[in-house]
């Protein structure tokens, strides 16, 4: 059976930061696995400047941050397997990996690493309305991946559901890629994301319908593709008001209704999970990012969806803790490093959006058993 000092699952900002920080602190023989064709996770679709979280990388674009991290990982000799999904866990930390081969086929390999960091990110929530499975209805992040990473439009005329930051930013980016955003629909009475992002799309002439939702999507386009979208007004109890329908021609609907952690792997090991309103089901962890299973750490969206900056900081925490567990640094050295990272994390979790997450994190960590 293969072995490693550290196996990182997921090469997004959290996983890469964990691998880099562990390597910097002396950990050798590190492997990062990712099921995607490229490393970097969601970073390479973030072509906007980072949300204005204080001095912390604000103004840096995710894509540039991604290039920087990949360079660092390479310089530190970190091995990355792409097209390689971790599909299961057995016994004591035995990972089953579907390893991508150069000819495009997959080979199953087993690995028992000394430590593991699970950084598998998040996936987009779905919203159910009549016709939600029609081809052309997709996640906003999926549309973002198509235009910014794959450089192809997902469609021409797009209705966006959701005015959180992802909905607003992706709407703007779709326009930058030459698509027409027909309108943005929001069930709440007000816009969810930052005002700056909302005014950017409004100035570009995109109507935003608050207190509205999608009633029905028709699939009369070629091959059953989306042809028409009907929206409807909602009253203060979020109930549809008959007679307020509006119908638009569109070939694509993008859903920006939040993210939920990808935590299947977490559930396969004996790791305690907990539900909270901010994040959904998430693994319990402590301030070292250690889970309730020895030697297994978590970081990034897997532990509750936030943003790239917080994912990186959590990754760093996990990397430092792995180095400590493997005996490369002392308890005091590890604590010093973690204290600094926690200062930055607290800075990032401020403001109207961050505070809610800060509180949820405290609760999540509070569930960690004390010995």
């Amino acid at each position: 059976m293969l072995t490693r000092e550290l196996l990182v699952i997921g090469a997004g900002p959290a996983g890469l930061a964990a691998a880099i920080e562990a390597a910097k602190n002396g950990v050798k023989d590190i492997l990062v696995c990712d099921l995607n064709m490229k490393a970097g996770g969601q970073l390479f679709k973030q072509i906007h400047k980072f949300f204005g979280s204080k001095e912390h990388n604000a103004g840096v674009r995710g894509i540039d941050q991604g290039v920087q991290m990949l360079k660092e990982a390479e310089e530190l000799g970190i091995e990355i397997w792409l097209n390689s999904a971790v599909v299961g866990f057995f016994g004591d930390k035995i990972a089953c990996i579907e390893q991508g081969q150069p000819d495009g086929t997959k080979k199953i390999v087993y690995m028992q690493p000394k430590t593991i960091v699970i950084a598998t990110g998040a996936q987009e929530n779905v919203v159910r309305f009549k016709g939600w499975t029609t081809p052309g209805v997709m996640g906003a992040g999926a549309a973002q991946t198509m235009i910014n990473v794959n450089r192809v439009q997902p469609g021409k005329n797009i209705v966006m559901l959701g005015t959180g930051n992802v909905g607003l930013i992706v709407s703007y980016q779709l326009m930058q890629a030459g698509c027409n955003v027909v309108c943005i629909v929001e069930a709440a009475p007000g816009i969810g994301g930052y005002g700056v992002h909302a005014s950017k799309v409004s100035r570009a002439g995109v109507p935003i319908y608050c207190s509205h939702t999608i009633k029905e999507v028709k699939g009369d386009g070629p091959d059953g593709r989306v042809s028409e979208v009907t929206i409807i007004g909602l009253d203060e109890k979020w109930q549809p008001i008959e007679g307020t329908e509006k119908t638009f021609e569109a070939d694509t609907v993008t859903l920006a209704a939040g993210l939920k952690p990808v935590s299947d792997l977490v559930k396969l090991q004996d790791i305690e999970i907990v539900f909270n309103n901010a994040f959904g089901w998430v693994p319990v962890h402590n301030d070292k990012m250690q889970t309730t299973a020895k030697g297994i750490y978590v970081a990034g969206d897997t532990t509750g969806s936030e943003e790239a900056n917080t994912a990186m900081e959590e990754g760093k925490l996990a990397g430092v803790s792995v180095a400590e567990e493997l005996g490369y640094i002392t308890m005091d050295e590890a604590k010093d490093q973690r204290d600094q990272i926690w200062d930055r994390l607290r800075g990032l979790r401020t403001g109207p959006f961050g505070e809610k997450r800060a509180i949820a994190k405290v609760v999540q960590m509070g569930k960690f058993p004390v010995d």
Partner: protein, 105 residues
């Protein structure tokens, strides 16, 4: 018609110099070397990847990052290949998947 985003205000010019050919349901289409199969299909306005097992309903791209399996197709005879995370290779044969994609013998 979906289009490639060749010129972009932030990302600049996209290199489309290395084009290859793949076959989709018997028809030859161009693909950028190494791009996901799904991207090559979208560039040709092909949105449906598979039909569901029970109701035979069309499905297309939903997550784009290998999490949902809505983009599964038969690639070089193998069923259930997620086309959003599988690179296009010269001469590849791609087919729309019906149900589980198991071929009758």
């Amino acid at each position: 018609m979906c289009m490639r985003v060749t010129d972009h205000i932030i990302l600049g010019h996209d290199d489309t110099s290395k084009m290859i050919e793949i076959t989709v349901d018997g028809k030859k289409i161009p693909a950028k070397e190494g791009e996901p199969i799904l991207a090559a299909l979208l560039a040709q306005d092909i949105m449906v990847n598979r039909y569901t097992v029970k109701r035979n309903e069309p499905r297309g791209l939903f997550c784009g990052i290998g999490q949902c399996t809505d983009c599964a197709m038969i690639v070089d005879g193998r069923a259930n290949v997620r086309t959003c995370i599988t690179p296009a290779v010269e001469g590849m044969v791609v087919e729309t998947q019906h149900g589980y994609g198991i071929q009758e013998v």
